[in-house]
Symmetry: C2
Subunit: 156 residues, 2 copies
DNA sequence: TAGATCGTTGGTGTAAGACAAACCATTGAT
DNA sequence: ATCAATGGTTTGTCTTACACCAACGATCTA
């Protein structure tokens, strides 16, 4: 057997790196988000909701991979702040369709703007172009899996 | 003022995306890591130690952005399993130099191998090449900031 | 010698989040 | 019409990861 090309080295694992970066981002985000009355988990939920353009709660739970009872309390918090809206699905009145309100969308935008400095700092090792690439990859990775959660729950 | 090119759209924020992906990875990793006696935080610490090739504890605390007292307990856990080693710095005998042991390096390698399936699943939306790009970007982002922590603490 | 620094121990408090049980409204199948 | 299954909700318990504080010994530096 002739020796193979460069291939056989162990593939790189992103897990720990992602975790590590997430921590750095989260720590800084907390203080920036606090004045807006948000916590990191709120931001994740709002972001996912925006990207999904609305969702049933069960679908949301699957996407966030959170226990559904905890999703309820998370959404309660967001709803009392008028950031999201629960409407009954006309097709199946047991379902709640969750959507961003205008207030929620605007607050999310403000939050993201406020996070500029944080990301500039944490991603200071990357050029603007590299950051854009990173964003695209992350988006692609998470929307793929979101799509699967979607199919599973028959949602969307 | 003539209108500017494509530029002025709000830049994308990776924070929530990173957080979200980190969660997905962490949830799955826990069950894979458990049989090896590891938790996600252990993996992060081991990974950072490998990438740094050893470090003082204070420097490690800065890199991980963890409270130093919590770093102590984390290292205690790793040390009782013989995964890391604390040696006194000859230059400053107050300092502990922390390094991976052979056992630790091997376990880390085994852990990463065991995580293959997890990453394959979570990153199923990306091609092998894209995953490699992602890894490179993450590595670059986190090593840059690690370098800053290093300078701050006069370490390395 | 005095004061700062590194690591360590022990203790407290908070928040995320998993999990379980019981409930209502609604659906869909028989 | 009945009954099981489903989506959401409430409540309550338990664990874990942390941050934070105070005090200490060893060591370095001035």
């Amino acid at each position: 057997m002739t020796s193979l090309p460069v291939v056989n080295q162990p593939p790189h694992r992103c897990g720990a790196l992602v975790d590590h970066l997430a921590r750095r981002l989260r720590l800084r985000s907390e203080s920036v988000l606090a004045p807006l009355g948000l916590r990191p988990r709120h931001l994740i939920a709002l972001t996912v909701l925006r990207d999904l353009g609305g969702s049933s709660q069960q679908h949301l739970a699957k996407t966030l991979e959170m226990d559904s009872t905890n999703v309820v309390t998370l959404l309660n918090e967001l709803e009392t702040e008028n950031l999201i809206e629960r409407r009954r699905s006309p097709a199946d009145r047991r379902r709640h369709l969750v959507e961003l309100t205008d207030v929620g969308a605007k607050l999310l935008a403000r939050a993201e703007f406020a996070l500029t400095a944080v990301e500039d700092e944490v991603f200071s090792g990357l050029s603007a172009e590299q950051r854009e690439t990173l964003y695209a990859l992350l988006q692609q990775a998470s929307s793929k899996t979101a799509g699967e959660a979607c199919r599973e729950s028959g949602g969307c």
